[in-house]
Symmetry: C2
């Protein structure tokens, strides 16, 4: 693999003038869409990212699928270690642990053969950059180029001059049927004329029901067509209905490549057609490619960094992954399918792909800073979801709920947005949504039990320790918004609930442990034992990893554990304790002792040393994680990238700070990796972090200034950032054990409310 | 069972004045909704009708279900032989061989117990009339009364004065899960306030996807609620999402009965609410009951008859069953879910429940005469279906296709409507629909094979003999519309295809028989052997029954069989040949020899004697069928009533004529059963058939006059009827072998086109 150089940009048709104009600040050149697309076999977990073409927050992710029916291990459709491509489908998830979507697959081929139609490919003949992907299909000798707009994919197939030009349109391509109950409910292919095909598929899978309508145009005429429904072939026919539908198309052969543009809609083929007409009115694929790149340049350029080339590649690819979702679900005209399966309209755009258990931690705070308008649209989409569904989304996919993971972590996202005064969000509607989402029981969230027992008894609700900890945090968030809105009783009630985590702390073992409904500790207990997604008190982790999850009140956690020195000792143990006998959960990867950077429960932990007055230890471990858990290869992430969360950890941490509590406006300071990072804020202001003398050895903060004045806090506030300014760190190779250690330097409770 | 007497009408609150006003012409009093609701065990097939409350062509059929999960044997939800009621659900099919719908069930109960909640009932404490049903639930001592509007059900639960008032709202109630792939995709119950609940369910079953939204109001406040998702109970909660949802509701106890009104929509809860507000704005259930009765009176009063009380009961119940469907699928505002799963709007109303293999034969011609405007709406709905789906419906349910049965019998319905100049149908759009539906292959209709072989080879397409015969007829219909529109080439093409049936006539055996794709007869062959719905050349019948299916050209059939006397001899054999050794198909019932009135392929056969110059034999057998195959008991039909077809056979035949070819404007004359029948035509004219001296013995036509002039034709034309007038038959107990036997008296080819 080599990602796209300037030379290739030229080849694919961008004008020099455009390139020269933007060259000075062009950051998309650093993006390597292959980062996270595969695992080093046996030694890591794939990021589960896809390398294909997409636009920021777009509906369409046009990307190659390297499996006939991609499962969780190829959740993005593409595994860098695979050798063949089975088609180019229009929707993909980036970094998830469950694979779904893969809608409307096209596969060019040059000789007739039996289904499945696939072709070998080689990374040496494969390239990608933001909004563009290219591969050569080896047996078929077809050069495939992909680009995308918000709602459409645009493809160019350059066949060998001597070979026939076939395309398979595959509406049956999906995750394995039966997996998550996956089944195609209905589908249709309608050949409108020799250049136009429309249709749809209705599919149940990870979410109950997705409707995907499409409208496709081909630059050359179809000269032969076969439609297939299951095992039955229909020749010379222009429409087919069924569940397992395919169209085998033969196109006129001439010296021009075959171009295909295909738009999606969740509402109707008419809307898909309107989306296509609005976004790709002509056949200029180079123009569309350039547009896509420009969109990315605009978004990624919001942070300008100085650092090594490798750091830039990791950083801007992280930005790219962070802004790949949430995804627009509404059509150009605002239509979308709501959580109650009705067609509704949202002129400002309706969004989905809310992998909230992951993205509430760092991705959402990143959006709040860099994408405040979009964040408002995300939050309003969540509030609309609440109106139709009775709950804020837990894991929102194509506007629906799959109940994946635990907690109700739309709450911190919504609360943080309101507390930050993001424009266009109705605080009362937001509060109704977060409050009722905290009272309305659902899978993994039995609030009646919560209110009755003041903890989750494992025999009544599995994953009880993780849920108790995470729900306590969500409740704290509700309380914060209640306080802001003057709802004193609600504030008290939810603040009480936010302390329920204490009821599962076992001072004897020094861990959060499971109790049954008789308040008895569940035996036997081993803090190393892993849980997965049920049947165990811990979610995708163990007691060591979940010991640290009280972001809403770390001083209380420190007390609970036995004071600062014990807290530090236990943290040290976390990062050093190794045990090769325990059976790891699939999601446990990126290990440093028991710390597992490959999964989200660990993400805030390295910053906790700040709260205990030993910030140099935060500096040590955050630097170690930045260096060891990220690289610029296909296996660049230590685990599933998880819809921007793993990327956002890097983006924040490489700049030197991180939102330990993603709803209190505070960012704990770690160890800046980059020489300099400048955030171009939406207000027009800039916030710059400069790390003088930073190097692989000089990882410790010696001193700092903020806007020229001495700065000793181990935290920034959102206001520090939003007001603009310059934070300068002087770095050295030895800890300065005096910097950031005074009481007032420790990250406070919240900038929005008092404790 | 006793159906509703005038006394009971009074009890349930209709005013005397209303009754007195309408008494002279009140025909709804004769309707017994229990006819067809059960089989005499072991000796007949149930009509599969339901006894509950509905309005003509309405969306809602509110009726008791006597099984927890009704299957094909209780396709209407209700079996007269059952002893318990499991709930009152809002949608039902009338007379089908497959059970589906059963949406949104409510079950009142008076003491808490485990699911399923059911109660014994007794026909002695059960009553029904058009638009009203009442039953006493015995253990629970609850009197249940049901009525309906187009889109809503209205229920009254009178609990015992000492018992608690519970209602189960069951969104999981359906046909057996897994049957036809039945599975609930998603559902929601939302308790809006103490008097209001809304929600929906999305279900896949006999058709791919139905969305049923509801909005319900209760006259008394809910004082306790438990929501259930699968095995999980949620107390004190107002919303639940899932697949297997139930709400256990407890209502305030006072001296008033509990009233429930619940409206449906296929589009949204907002539309369901609007439907309810439009149709049941208040709590006057007696008024709604009266309205429903008035709607039926208006429709059933379109034919006024004189005859015995029993004849009136059978006749008007048949009218009631004929007008129970097609059903309105669109909301009050015109919204509906189209065949491509989009939301569309049809201000004139969108209809579904098109059991076309059945209803094209006699029900559709009946609608053409009595319901021309509705027929236009039905036909336009079919044409819209074609636009979204590429095919006219085969069996249209809730706007979708289940491909049930064979042929494409929307074609005769659409063609007949256009040839009859029904208002508001675009002939070009209609022709495009019928033509493309005759060229676009689909399940059981491979037109490429049809055009290639000029018959269906059984090894390529099962049910080949039945399909060859029925497809030939549909092709003839297409040709007729082509001729009308001056499309000469199409006319020739489809006329050629309409003769393909001849390619399967085996002169040696004297039957239509299956060939393979090598043109060889498939051996062994027994004309008595039954096929079902695949795996055999005959569909739900045998070679004897399918020998007669050439309604488009009976003279050619007579020639094929060997001339008139051979034709008569073979017909005589059909009605007399008995064989107890052959295994009957489930649908073969109502047998007279090999004639099976219980299923549709036989329905036209008794009229074929007219075409051979022996009309007295038609008179004999049609009278015999009228007398033997219909009665006014719960087992009043000889087989599944099939969405109005079995009923329409009676309606036509009891008046003395029948549409042997339902698209040529000709009605063959049989033996009038009724003393007099007057059709009140939409034009304001009347057409009266008077049968002087008719009796159980006087079944033969001695002579006739039409508008005072001697009439010897064994047929009427649609114009004879539409022009109004009076047809008088003089009946006697011996055949008049001279009447109707001249060449010009034999039913002609068509009144619309020449051969």
């Amino acid at each position: 693999m080599k990602f796209l150089s300037k030379k290739i940009l030229f080849i694919c048709g961008l004008s020099w003038s455009t390139m020269l104009l933007s060259q000075s600040s062009t950051v998309t050149q650093y993006v390597n869409p292959f980062i996270g697309t595969g695992a080093v076999n046996g030694s890591s977990l794939s990021g589960n990212n896809f390398p294909g073409a997409t636009t920021p927050f777009g509906m369409v992710q046009l990307s190659p699928d390297t499996k006939e029916a991609p499962d969780w291990s190829v959740a993005s459709g593409y595994n860098y270690n695979d050798k063949s491509i089975y088609g180019f489908s229009h929707t993909h998830l980036s970094g998830t642990g469950v694979g779904d979507l893969f809608d409307i697959s096209l596969m060019p081929y040059s000789r007739q053969r039996k289904y499945p139609i696939y072709s070998r490919f080689d990374h040496e003949e494969e390239n990608a950059k933001p909004g563009y992907y290219q591969v050569n299909l080896l047996e078929d000798q077809i050069k495939v180029e992909l680009t995308a707009t918000q709602h459409a994919g645009f493809q160019k197939y350059t066949y060998h001059k001597d070979s026939a030009e076939f395309v398979l349109l595959d509406l049956d391509h999906s995750m394995p049927k039966g997996s998550w109950g996956c089944r195609i409910i209905a589908a249709q292919i309608k050949i409108i004329d020799k250049h136009t095909i429309e249709g749809f598929r209705i599919i149940t899978g990870w979410v109950p029901l997705r409707k995907i309508y499409f409208y496709a145009q081909f630059s050359k005429p179809i000269i032969r067509q076969k439609l297939q429904n299951g095992s039955t072939l229909y020749k010379n026919q222009s429409i087919i209905n069924g569940t397992d539908l395919k169209a085998y198309l033969k196109f006129e052969k001439n010296s021009n490549p075959l171009l295909v543009k295909l738009a999606l809609s969740p509402v109707s083929t008419e809307n898909a057609k309107a989306n296509l007409e609005a976004e790709i009115p002509n056949w200029d694929i180079n123009n569309t490619t350039e547009q896509a790149n420009n969109l990315w340049q605009k978004e990624l350029g919001k942070i300008q960094i100085e650092g090594t080339e490798k750091q830039k590649r990791i950083f801007y690819t992280a930005m790219y992954h962070a802004f790949t979702q949430p995804n627009k679900l509404s059509d150009v005209n605002g239509d979308y399918m709501a959580a109650d399966y009705t067609t509704r309209n949202e002129p400002n755009g309706y969004y989905s792909t809310f992998s909230l258990w992951d993205m509430y931690r760092a991705a959402a705070p990143l959006y709040t800073i860099l994408q405040p308008k979009k964040t408002s649209a995300f939050v309003n989409s969540m509030i609309d979801h609440y109106k139709e569904f009775g709950l804020l989304p837990i894991w929102g996919l194509w506007g629906q709920e799959n109940y994946c993971m635990i907690g109700n972590h739309a709450i911190p996202v919504v609360v943080n947005a309101v507390l930050n005064h993001l424009p266009g969000i109705n605080p009362k509607a937001a509060y109704e949504a977060v409050k009722n989402s905290s009272l309305t029981s659902h899978i993994n969230a039995p609030f009646d039990i919560w209110e009755n027992y003041h903890y989750m008894p494992e025999n009544l609700q599995s994953q009880s320790v993780s849920i108790t900890l995470e729900m306590s945090y969500d409740d704290w968030c509700v309380a914060q918004l209640a306080q802001r809105l003057g709802k004193t009783e609600d504030y008290k009630h939810f603040m009480d609930r936010s302390k329920y985590y204490k009821n599962l702390y076992d001072a004897n073992s020094g861990f959060f442990r499971a109790k049954n409904d008789k308040k008895a500790w569940i035996e036997p207990f081993s803090p190393l034992n892993y849980g997965a997604n049920g049947g165990n008190p811990y979610t995708e982790g163990n007691a060591w990893q979940y010991l640290w999850y009280v972001p809403q009140d770390i001083p209380s956690l420190i007390s609970l554990i036995g004071g600062k020195s014990m807290f530090i000792k236990r943290l040290d143990s976390l990062f050093t304790l190794k045990d090769s006998t325990v059976k790891l959960n699939n999601n446990a990867s990126g290990l440093i002792g028991q710390y597992a950077h490959g999964n989200e429960p660990s993400h805030h932990i390295a910053y906790l040393y700040d709260y205990a007055g030993v910030p140099w230890k935060t500096q040590f471990y955050t630097h170690k994680i930045l260096q060891e858990m990220y690289n610029d290869s296909f296996s660049g992430y230590a685990g599933n990238e998880d819809c921007g969360q793993m990327a956002s950890w890097y983006i924040f941490s490489a700049m030197g700070f991180y939102p330990v509590n993603p709803a209190n406006g505070i960012f704990a300071i770690g160890s800046p990796l980059l020489q300099q990072a400048t955030i171009n804020l939406p207000s027009g202001k800039t916030f710059t972090v400069n790390a003088k003398n930073v190097s692989n050895e000089n990882i410790y903060i010696q001193s700092a200034t903020l806007n020229g004045r001495p700065f000793t806090h181990t935290y920034l506030t959102i206001h520090n950032i939003q007001n603009g300014g310059k934070l300068v760190f002087i770095m050295g190779d030895k800890p300065n054990k005096k910097w950031g250690t005074n009481k007032e330097d420790i990250p406070p409770y919240s900038i929005f409310n008092k404790n």
